[in-house]
């Protein structure tokens, strides 16, 4: 999993570099400062899901399946809320601001970088969901704690990437 994370980090690095390189290079509007608003609430949701998944894994290693299920579901909810936030932001940008991936360089880099991250969140949610199904059909046992922890590493990685994406897009980029 560490290797996968290293490989994924390299992919994100390239997209982040492209984003930074192209800041302010768009020939036409809209510009990021005009249309972007930092999604603080959704960011808090995603980052706190790192905490809840960590609590869930601890409950699993302690063998407390009911508590594990609760924290795990909460993680899924928080992740879904974040994804919903991204969807709303995109809908706003596309319908109200008229910014699409082909509008200008900002659109291209913004949708690719945020989209790449959202794709990873989606993949993570699917994996979390699969574990939830195993949990509620009682196929998940305490001895699977190590595997679940490896999955949680991926989720932490997705959260950490968001910190970088957030900094690049909503702090440096505006």
């Amino acid at each position: 999993m560490y290797c996968l994370i290293a490989a994924e980090s390299a992919i994100f690095t390239i997209f982040v570099v492209a984003y930074l390189f192209y800041i302010g290079k768009s020939l036409t509007g809209p510009k990021p400062a005009d249309v972007l608003h930092a999604p603080i609430l959704y960011t808090i949701c995603l980052l706190s899901s790192s905490l809840t998944i960590n609590l869930a894994v601890r409950r699993l290693s302690a063998g407390n399946m009911a508590a594990f299920g609760r924290w795990w579901l909460l993680t899924i909810v928080l992740g879904s809320v974040f994804l919903f936030g991204t969807a709303r932001e995109w809908a706003h940008l596309i319908h109200d601001e008229g910014l699409t991936i082909g509008t200008n360089l900002f659109g291209t880099t913004y949708y690719s970088l945020v989209g790449l991250h959202a794709f990873h969140v989606t993949m993570g949610l699917l994996a979390l969901f699969a574990v939830a199904v195993f949990c509620f059909t009682s196929q998940l046992q305490r001895e699977h704690a190590e595997r679940v922890e490896i999955l949680s590493m991926y989720w932490h990685f997705v959260d950490a990437v968001w910190v970088i994406v957030f900094t690049v897009v909503y702090v440096i980029g505006i």
């Binding site: 290797c3 290293a6 992919i11 390239i14 192209y22 020939l27 991936i101 200008n104 360089l105």
Partner: protein, 555 residues
């Protein structure tokens, strides 16, 4: 014992479909290794045919064997095929087969991921060649990709590359890239977690060490390529502007992204080749490898420095003086650990009882040729000289010297060295030597003389040229060399097939070698080792054979 033999021979021959099904669904690292290698051999033939067409077209000025369009497709397909679907799968195949055996493991760490990786790589190759059928789409606009193997923007933009050929190129690299990353993850996990008792990192065979570093490089280098391919897909399908200079995008950033992959890729390919040399040269010199710790450190140094030399492919782009200086120095610095390796191999041979069997012949030729390739590399690292020689046949000669003279020679050496282990049969030594001499002659005819038209100013990728520029005779000689190389490859193929069916039984350890894979039967059983081996030195089989003077007393 005899009872089991009888039992095995009484097993009825299974129908072909069943055996085929076993191969398709296999997760065994040895079978996947063989699949990789066979797959790579098929593509070697395809890439070789493309090279032959290129050289026949250039045999004399104003030749009209193929049209300019077809010529462009030929060099694009040749480059892409040879790098992604010959060299990488070939080396991954050997790594797959050998790494678990050499560390005394039952299989790779993730057998199913292993199978997935192979089939992704296979899918990539199929994508690439499917472009011949699906590439023109509705446009009637050319079939196979013709944008060059590094596909600089804006050639890849929809405007200049209508139809689907570039899309097939992108998809094929994307899917084979996913396969490569999967394999790399697998090799690292296997090396770190599956070693047999006693095999510390410092006692691993050098082949495992080098493949371990190679896997790290794959993770750091192939991922950027995948990212760049994703951007290209966004540009081509979703109307993005990453590499669209009309909308403020940058063509140069594609070059950076591509070469951030492209140069470490050279080390991804050459490290496993070094790995073969590091196993073969000691066994055929009857001496332990000279300077094992330094070899490991030099490998790691190559891995690190190799990540910071990419822009020496871009001296002519017009980077700042500071950037040029940095990449000149880093490129020259990488010659140091490589030089250390060459001296260590020489020191291993020094004073040894050298046996010039076919694997050793290929490795000796590799040493000599790789040295020259490195020296022309250092000349190209000098930015001002590169401004003169960039994109000329001198560069083409240089990197073919590395890839054919260095990597391919080591691969051939590895084929002959491990063929007895893979198949249980001995190859034909006379045919092996014939292959070697034909190939050495052909190689030097082609690639020694290819430097000259480059210095005389002949650019690469031109489909024909004017007579009377002093290029004619050199191009003729270069093309004549191809005939020798092709003959060598045919002898090689014949040797493989003939030896597989008619060769003598090889036994477990035909070379009196020292690493673990020679202690199990040839070919190894599905479970590799009936008992998990345990190791006390870098040459466990030496310890077994010479209990009175084992290696672990000295290490």
């Amino acid at each position: 014992m005899s009872a089991t033999t009888i039992a095995i021979s009484e097993v009825p021959v299974r129908p072909v479909t069943l055996r085929l099904h076993e191969w398709v669904t296999t997760v065994d690292h040895k079978r996947l290794g063989v699949l990789y290698v066979v797959y790579a051999l098929i593509f070697l033939a395809l890439g070789g045919i493309e090279a032959t067409i290129i050289r026949l077209q250039l045999i004399r000025p104003h030749n009209a064997l193929v049209s300019p369009q077809v010529f462009n497709r030929m060099f694009t397909m040749h480059g892409t095929t040879m790098i992604f679907f010959v060299a990488m799968p070939m080396l991954f195949g050997f790594a797959n087969y050998l790494v678990p055996l050499m560390i005394g493991a039952r299989d790779m760490a993730f057998p199913r991921l292993n199978a997935f990786s192979f089939w992704m790589t296979a899918l990539g190759g199929i994508f690439l060649y499917f472009s011949y059928f699906g590439g023109d789409g509705l446009y009637g606009a050319g079939s196979a990709p013709d944008v060059g193997w590094f596909a600089y923007a804006p050639l890849t933009a929809k405007t200049f590359s209508v139809g689907h050929s570039t899309d097939f190129w992108t998809l094929s690299l994307l899917s084979s890239g996913i396969g490569s990353i999967g394999t790399a993850i697998n090799i690292i996990a296997t090396t770190l977690c599956m070693r047999c008792p006693g095999m510390t990192l410092g006692k691993m065979p050098l082949l495992v060490w080098l493949n371990f570093v190679m896997a790290g490089l794959v993770i750091l280098a192939v991922s950027p390529l995948s990212a760049a391919q994703l951007m290209l897909v966004v540009d081509r399908y979703l109307g993005g502007h990453f590499f669209d200079t009309q909308a403020g995008g940058s063509a140069v950033i594609w070059m950076h992204f591509f070469w951030i992959f492209g140069h470490p890729e050279v080390y991804v390919l050459v490290l496993p080749a070094f790995a073969f040399a590091s196993e073969i040269i000691p066994v055929f010199s009857r001496k332990a490898i000279f300077g094992y710790p330094v070899m490991v450190l030099a490998t790691i140094a190559i891995g690190f420095i190799g990540m910071s030399v990419w822009a020496h492919h871009m001296f002519t782009v017009g980077m700042s003086a500071g950037a040029n200086t940095f990449f000149v120095l880093s490129t020259m610095a990488i010659a140091v650990p490589t030089g250390i390796k060459i001296f260590n191999w020489l020191a291993t041979m020094w004073g040894g009882k050298i046996r010039f069997a076919t694997p050793m012949l290929f490795c000796v030729a590799f040493l000599f040729q790789f040295l020259i390739a490195g020296l022309t590399g250092v000349t190209l690292a000098v930015a001002p000289l590169d401004w003169q020689l960039s994109n000329s046949y001198y560069v083409v000669a240089h990197f073919h010297y590395v890839i054919v003279g260095g990597i391919l020679f080591c691969i051939f050496g590895a084929f002959y060295y491990w063929f007895p282990k893979f198949s249980g049969k001995m190859y034909d030594e006379a045919l092996g030597k014939l292959h070697f001499w034909l190939f050495v002659i052909g190689f030097h005819l082609t690639f020694d003389f290819m430097h000259v038209p480059g210095i005389l100013g002949m650019p690469r990728r031109i489909y024909t040229y004017e007579p009377g520029r002093g290029w004619d005779i050199w191009n003729l000689i270069v093309t004549i060399g191809v005939a020798f190389q092709a003959a060598g490859i045919l002898v090689f193929a014949a040797n493989l097939v003939w030896s597989y069916f008619r060769g003598k039984r090889a036994g477990n350890d035909p070379w009196d070698a020292w690493t673990l894979e020679w202690s199990t039967s040839s070919p190894p059983p599905a479970y590799n080792y009936a008992q998990v081996p345990s190791v006390r030195s870098r040459r466990p089989l030496w310890d077994l054979k010479h209990p009175e003077d084992p290696d672990w007393r000295y290490e």
